[in-house]
Subunit: 109 residues, 2 copies
DNA sequence: TTGACACGACACCATTAGGTGTCTTATTAT
DNA sequence: ATAATAAGACACCTAATGGTGTCGTGTCAA
C-alpha cells in the first residue's frame, strides 16, 4: 500500500551533510541535471551521483532521463516519517521550555 | 553561547536504529544504568556503551556515576535542530497534500 | 575479606561509506 | 562526420562504523 519498498532508511539518507545540501539544492529548483548538481561541490561527479543514488533509494529523489542528461527532482514526502518520529519527543523540550519559563517568572518577582 | 561544542552531528547520531531505540528507552524512564539499557538488545555491553557515547557526543544523553553504575538520561533538546531543518521542507508535502485533496474533491463531483 | 557485579579501556576484526580515476556509450552541436 | 558533453559502470583505496572479547578496577553484599 504505502511506499515500504524503500531500500534505504530515511534517517540514514539525511545523515550525510552533502546529501542534505543536495536536498536543499533540489528544493530551490524544479528539476536539475547531475552535472549542475555536481558543480557546487568540491568532489567529483561519481561521488555526487552515488549520494543521489542513496537519496533515491530512500525515496527522497526521483530521476528521469532527458536526452543525454539525468534530471533529478525532490520528493520530500518520506521526510514525514522523521517528522512523525520527532513528534513523539517534542513534548520533552516543550515541557522543558514550560518549566524554564516558570522559573524565569519566579525570578522576576 | 549555545551548545555548539557538540562533537557529533545530531543527524548522524539518530541515523542508527539501535541509537533510536536507546533514545526511546530513555524517554520512558527518568534515568537508567548501562546494564539495564543493555538488556533489551541483542549485543554486548561494550557495543551499547559505544552507542551511548555517540549520543552523548551529540548532546542527546547525559550521564552520571552512581556507585558502581553509570546512569543515563535523555536530553531531547538537540532534536530541535532537526525539527528546524524539517520545517523548511514541510511546505513541500503540505502543498502536495493540498493538491491531492483538490484532486479528490474534483473526482467526487 | 572475599566474591560478584558494573563498568571503562583496549585491542581487534569485518563491513560499509565516501571518495577517487578510467573506460564506454549515448546524445548533441559543429 | 567529428568532436565535445553527460553520465553509467567499474575497480580501487582509506577511514569510519559497529560489532566482538579480555583485562583491570572500583563498589557493593555476604
Amino acid at each position: 500500500m504505502s511506499d515500504n519498498n524503500r531500500l534505504r532508511d530515511v534517517f540514514d539518507a539525511i545523515a550525510d551533510p552533502t546529501r542534505r545540501r543536495l536536498i536543499r539544492l533540489l528544493a530551490e529548483t524544479d528539476e536539475m541535471p547531475l552535472h549542475e548538481l555536481t558543480a557546487p561541490f568540491n568532489m567529483g561527479r561519481t561521488a555526487v551521483s552515488k549520494h543521489l543514488a542513496i537519496l533515491k533509494e530512500a525515496g527522497l529523489v526521483l530521476d528521469r532521463k532527458v536526452g543525454r542528461e539525468t534530471r533529478f527532482r525532490l520528493n520530500a514526502a518520506p521526510l514525514r516519517e522523521i517528522q512523525d518520529w520527532l513528534a513523539f519527543y517534542s513534548r520533552f523540550w516543550n515541557t522543558n521550555l514550560r518549566r524554564l519559563n516558570q522559573l524565569l517568572e519566579e525570578e522576576e518577582k
